[in-house]
Subunit: 200 residues, 2 copies
């Protein structure tokens, strides 16, 4: 399979590239590095990426930012960051990739444990992740040509403990390599409309 990985230079993206690269052709995409560059907040940039990549079999997104902050200080514009980036950025990868993906291809997006198991300062992340998961369940029943869509919901990664550990006390971390298995299940399996929770 020809598999496009958006966010391939990130901690998670590297692990997904290692897992899937053992068996498939990987096209690495990233904001500033990779075989092709893409800014998922720009529809034009996504279109340019797909034009350059051509026909492909699977798209994995391990990309997307949200604003973290205390809810009592957060305003609508700060929630808008995550809606435009991690939510609609990933959704646009689907909307704009539908025509060039091969029959039976798959889209695999990334949410996170905060959908269900929230932390302080994470209201925007929870909102975005919940939207992504419900979108994927709904999109799965409308996609034509045997196309599939799933979401992987990782918990905190072991590799991120130094940065994020204080916000996730008591959460069992998983290695990026463990989380990458969720993407392999989505891409190489046959399920659709699923959320793969990799929570340790």
């Amino acid at each position: 399979m020809k598999i496009v990985i958006v966010g391939a230079a990130g901690t998670l993206g590297q692990a997904v590239a290692a897992e899937l690269g053992a068996r498939h052709d990987i096209v690495k995409a990233g904001r500033s590095s990779g075989d092709v560059t893409v800014d998922i907040t720009s529809a034009d940039s996504i279109r340019a990426m797909y034009a350059k990549v051509g026909r492909f079999d699977a798209l994995v997104s391990a990309a997307g930012s949200v604003h973290f902050g205390p809810m009592d200080k957060m305003n609508a514009a700060e929630y808008g960051i995550g809606l435009a980036d991690k939510l609609m950025g990933q959704v646009n990868l689907v909307l704009l990739g539908r025509d060039t993906i091969a029959d039976g291809g798959s889209f695999t997006l990334t949410s996170g444990i905060l959908t269900d198991d929230p932390i302080r300062y994470g209201t925007s992340a929870s909102m975005v992740n919940g939207g992504l998961e419900a979108f994927a369940r709904a999109a799965a029943i409308e996609l034509p040509r045997g196309l599939r869509i799933n979401v992987v919901s990782p918990t905190m990664l072991e590799e991120s403990i130094e940065s994020y550990g204080p916000y996730f006390r008591g959460y069992q971390p998983v290695s990026a390599a463990r989380a990458a298995l969720g993407y392999a299940k989505s891409v190489e399996g046959a399920q659709t409309g699923q959320v793969y929770r990799i929570w340790g």
Copy 2:
């Protein structure tokens, strides 16, 4: 209690007003009718509503629009309608009402069954509902002063069968009066961070 109901003139809002009005003082809010008017897509309009209402004990939102359409024709702007209206409109009712709500007060928002049980043409509704539910779970652990937040997820209402029946074949409808019980549970109970699924 002094309870503000946004969307009080709608099918659901009327039933909520009847249920809660038997025991409480209701302030009806709506886009073009009620004790006070409000456009939830406008932060200024929400601020003006709260300024007029003054201190209150509970806010119920039974308001919010999304775009329904076939996913293979939908673009980011059409998803943006629901994000700005049903999602961020309701979230802004919380963000902008935090300072005038009384200690121990509650916010009750409305999602819908499509979060979990999707239909054709409903990808935007599913996305928005999923975002709302996850937001409420996360906001519940950050709200100060004993404030609470819950979401009611109604299925199709019996009163809406004529309009929506064809899209919800096989779904067990509930009366608006039955759905209104979910709002009473949220407002008059003590739980927070919950999704009350009124699915028949």
